[in-house]
Amino acid sequence: MEALPLTEPVLLILLSLAGQAQHGYSILKDVERMSDGRVVMSTGTLYGALRRLLDDRWIERIEERESPRGRQAYRLTPHGRKNLQAEVSRMKHLTRVAALRVAMKES
């Protein structure tokens, strides 16, 4: 699978879009909430990541005719969702191994 593991901000952006399409402001707030305030991204960082995700077709823009100027929503593409699932599986495996190793050391 390409481009794994992901950086934490990119992973959080993808997780934010996993449930539903979101606007830039909602993504920032969701990322902050998911990380318990630990990851607070600037708009420059967010849109840099969104640009790269758009270029690699992990996410796509949704056309909203009634949306006010300057508000665009983004959603995961099937390709992006597949990569996100791969990353989550990788992390699950790592967590399992880590738990086993820690338990082994403690016993």
Binding site: A3, L4, P5, L6, T7, E8, P9, V10, H23, G24, Y25, L28, V40, M41, S42, T43, G44, T45, L46, Y47, G48, A49, L50, R51, R52, L53, D56, P68, R69, G70, R71, Q72
Partner: protein
């Protein structure tokens, strides 16, 4: 501050601005008007983070335009990198400088707002028109100097100079 932010967005390449400028301005405006940043300290942190984010993003996009691909120097890819970080002391120094600039702008705005009321004979001062270009130049010079130092450190690390030093012992 919205004006300064809009000016800084001009540092991005034109295609990027066409795609994201309105959105970034809109999100910045929403964040700025949030009630969670109404204390001076939090507002200062917010401005520093936003200005640093825009400068870093603009540098990254400019590099990408020149090279035709992401360089990995300014959070270029998705992939997690190893532990090399921008030197903390430099980051702190740059943050302090930016905080000073933000406070100076706020003071300037306060003076601008108060002067005509206390003495109508004195015309309004326009700190933005005088200071904006010099502030942007100042920020760019400091950011460029920091980036050059960072690139040198990264290049030295990639050349594994420290290992040569270890092997000579």
């Amino acid at each position: 501050m919205l004006r300064l932010y809009a000016q800084l967005l001009r540092l991005y390449p034109s295609p990027y601005r066409q795609q994201f400028e309105d959105e970034m301005l809109s999100v910045f405006h929403e964040l700025r008007s949030e009630n969670t940043i109404h204390t001076r300290c939090r507002r200062g942190i917010f401005y520093v983070r936003e200005i640093a984010g825009v400068l870093r993003g603009a540098a990254r996009e400019r590099c990408r335009t020149l090279r035709g691909k992401d360089l990995g120097l300014f959070e270029g890819g998705f992939m997690m990198r190893d532990g090399f970080r921008f030197p903390k002391a430099t980051a702190v120094l740059m943050t302090l400088i930016l905080a000073g600039i933000v406070i100076a702008i706020q003071k300037g705005e306060a003076i601008q707002a108060s002067l005509p009321a206390s003495n109508p004979q004195i015309g309004p001062i326009q700190p933005h028109s005088v200071m904006l270009s010099s502030i942007v130049s100042f920020l760019l010079i400091f950011y460029a100097a920091g980036s050059i130092g960072w690139i040198i450190l990264l290049a030295l690390r990639k050349l594994r100079v420290h290992r040569l030093d270890e092997s000579s012992r």
